[in-house]
């Protein structure tokens, strides 16, 4: 109770301060929002969309964590459109929420709207995906996975297991063009396999992180590059779509064509346990509790790390069989 009152008092103080000196001096972190009238924190969260099972698990966890933490959540679904997300953030600024959190749809083009948030003294937390900006002071912290590391883990497994096999022709199913996980998972994987000459990416195309995208791209790739014998998909859903295409082409996923994916959602884990996928690098969506904790600290004016990494692991087919029964998402 005491803490809450303190938070409210500080927020009110900052609000008054802001009102008194106009735009404020735009300090880069820790300042409270302008609307701290009540004693609950209001968070505006602009989600990418619900493009995959991973994302819906992420959304559900954030909503649950907000309720547990007593934070009022203004949730907005951008349906994979940057312009929707920008207008959602603008409306959060107008509503004077205490803190804004969002997963950017793409990496670039955020400076203007983030500057507006900064001028309104509303701290911004990035979740799951980062933005590409010169001015690091536009956001307080970035909570999320290290996608380059995920790509590297996938690549290292490929080097270890495919390296001795002879010529391996890899089809890469990329995520949404320009999205941080797509760029970073591509980079990490490419780095890891760079020194292994028999691993070669022969085709690379975006499947937009969806099943139907993965299926359609894989169909076309199998037709134009019949020598493909491995797939690296930037998420499980595209991998699942690719499985449909591979089976339709009369090949056996997991054997004729080995598959590595990233995410480890339930459907993906099931396919891994069934032997249709060979290896999954986890990308943990359950970051709600960490996010709410960060939000409280930020609103209270405490210093936070500028980069917080979520805890993640990898799964082989055997590990998937063990982990599957208690998989939440």
């Amino acid at each position: 109770m005491f803490k809450k009152t303190m938070v409210a008092a500080m927020a009110a103080a900052v609000a008054l301060g802001t009102a008194a000196c106009g735009s404020g001096d735009g300090d880069d972190s820790g300042s409270g929002g302008g609307g701290g009238g009540g004693d609950t924190i209001t968070m505006g969260f602009a989600q990418v969309g619900a493009e995959s099972g991973w994302r819906t698990a992420n959304t559900a966890d954030i909503q649950r964590a907000a309720e547990d933490a007593g934070i009022e959540l203004q949730f907005s679904d951008a349906q994979q459109k940057q312009e929707n997300q920008i207008s959602a953030i603008r409306s959060f600024i107008q509503q004077k929420v205490d803190v804004i959190a969002f997963s950017p749809v793409v990496e670039t083009g955020w400076d203007a709207v983030l500057l507006e948030a900064k001028r309104a003294n509303i701290p911004v937390i990035l979740t799951d995906r980062s933005v590409d900006t010169e001015d690091e002071s536009l956001y307080v912290t970035f909570l999320g996975s290290d996608f380059i590391e995920e790509g590297r883990k996938a690549g290292e497994w490929a080097v270890e297991n495919w390296g001795p096999l002879g010529q391996v022709n890899i089809a890469e199913l990329q995520g949404t063009t320009g999205a941080a996980p797509a760029l970073d998972r591509q980079e990490g994987f490419a780095d890891a396999i760079a020194d292994t000459p028999n691993l070669k990416i022969v085709a690379s195309q975006t499947g937009d992180f969806t099943r139907s995208g993965g299926r359609e791209v894989m169909e076309a790739m199998l037709n134009s590059n019949p020598e493909i014998n491995a797939v690296y998909a930037h998420n499980d859903d595209m991998g699942l779509g690719a499985i449909e295409a591979i089976e339709a082409a009369g090949k056996v996923p997991g054997k004729d064509i080995q598959i590595i994916t990233v995410d480890a959602v339930k459907d993906g884990m099931q396919a891994l346990a069934d032997g249709k996928i060979n290896f999954i690098v986890e990308c943990n969506p359950l970051l709600g509790d960490q996010l709410m904790e960060l939000a409280k600290k930020v609103v209270a004016g405490e210093e936070v790390e500028s980069r917080v990494v979520t805890e993640e692991t990898t799964f082989t087919q055997e590990q998937a069989k063990e982990a599957l029964p208690d998989r939440q998402y």
Binding site: T206, S212, S224, D237, A249
Partner: protein
């Protein structure tokens, strides 16, 4: 008219040329595109993929053609796709035996049933309450995805049912099941609208609803019917789209497919101002769009450039069509022959009973039926000029 003149004036010329040019491009860049082999007793290859993946868009574009011919537009088809997929997959997942054929049949029937209801809703708003089609269907377009999300609870529903996935991955006589289903519906529409007067009545409503009504055409029920059919086509397409991946993705299934369908109709030479339509043109339009997508994937055009590549091709197709439009406008400015007397019904020039081939007068050709001329009778829409039919 001599044959060469007829061909050069056919509205199908440029879409067909675009399709051939795309195929030629593939022949040069990626000869494997034309390889069709037998795989497990069915045809397999890029061309088959074009037909298969183009089927849902084509099916929706068929419904859209009739709606546009009646001077409407249906923006809600994408949402109907999502709802149909959501209902089917949720129904299968909650069945007692999720892998039984019975569960799949119940699921598909209820999805199509709901599709018909949604179409009836659109038709009600447009034909009875007289709301402008773009607004009336916008309601369902915006609300529809929310409804689908409610049905699936925001999750991607995965199903495992052989009967259901047959629609997405099964085969009939070596051809993908979706192609066969789409082909049958195309044939049905062609026979119903071109072998009977129905097609002409739809065009009459599109050219001038008031005149058509005064001439004894039941324009209200015809308008209603085309929206119900469009939603029916969309719900079947929704089943196909979700059966392809054995999952219902309320957020992404059929996203922006209404725009693809409208594009296919317009590429095929049907004017957005209503009236004359061409089913063959729509088929070609849908094939152009899908060939474009498949080309991007199989040639390996980098993702960053793929939308640009598509846009350039489509703009080129429209630009090629544009001079024709201008020429047609010039011809219309000359004194037109006096229209045949009485009635708003297109009396003479509509050839009922030709095959599903289009009449050579879709966009802005001179032989416009009487109701279209601003002389005689109360012309309701001022936007009857073919120039307004071009995409803006």
């Amino acid at each position: 008219m001599t044959l060469p003149v007829r061909i050069s004036r056919s509205p199908l010329l440029w879409p067909l040329a675009a399709l051939l040019a795309l195929l030629l491009f593939n022949l040069v860049v990626n000869p494997g595109f034309f390889t069709v082999r037998i795989q497990d007793g069915h045809l397999f290859g890029s061309l088959v993929d074009v037909l298969k993946n183009g089927s849902p868009t084509l099916l929706i574009a068929l419904g859209m053609t009739l709606v546009i011919a009646s001077r409407g537009v249906d923006l809600s088809v994408g949402a109907v796709v999502a709802i149909s997929a959501a209902i089917a997959c949720t129904s299968i997942a909650s069945a007692d035996d999720p892998s039984s054929p019975g569960a799949a049949i119940v699921a598909m029937t209820s999805a199509i049933g709901v599709g018909l209801l949604l179409g009836a809703w659109n038709g009600l708003l447009v034909s009875v309450f007289g709301i402008q089609p773009i607004i009336a269907t916008l309601v369902l377009m915006t609300a529809g995805r929310g409804i689908a999300m409610l049905i699936t609870d925001g999750q991607i529903i995965t199903v495992n049912n052989e009967t259901y996935s047959w629609l997405g991955g099964g085969h009939v006589l070596g051809l993908p099941a979706q192609v066969v289903v789409t082909g049958l519906i195309l044939l049905l529409v062609a026979v119903l609208t071109r072998r009977t007067a129905l097609g002409m009545l739809v065009e009459a409503v599109g050219i001038n609803p008031a005149a058509a009504r005064l001439a004894g055409v039941r324009s209200r029920s015809i308008t209603w019917t085309v929206y119900v059919f469009a939603a029916f086509a969309a719900s079947v397409a929704g089943l196909m789209i979700s059966a392809q991946v054995n999952a219902a993705d309320a957020n992404r299934a059929g996203l922006f497919i209404e725009l693809d369908a409208i594009l296919a109709v317009v590429i095929g030479g049907t004017s957005l101002a209503g009236g004359r339509y061409s089913l063959t043109g729509t088929v070609i339009g849908a094939l152009v769009l899908q060939t474009l997508t498949t080309t991007v994937y199989s040639v390996g055009i980098p993702s960053q450039y793929s939308t640009l590549f598509k846009a350039v091709v489509i703009i080129v197709v429209f630009l090629l069509q544009a001079p024709r439009l201008r020429a047609a406008l010039r011809r219309r400015r000359r004194p037109a022959p006096p229209p045949p007397a009485s009635g708003g019904l297109p009396s003479g020039p509509v050839p009922v009973g030709t095959d599903l081939g289009p009449t050579p007068t879709a966009v802005g050709a001179p032989a416009v039926p009487t109701g279209r001329e601003p002389s005689g009778s109360t012309v309701v829409g001022a936007g009857n000029d073919p120039a307004e039919g071009a995409l803006r």
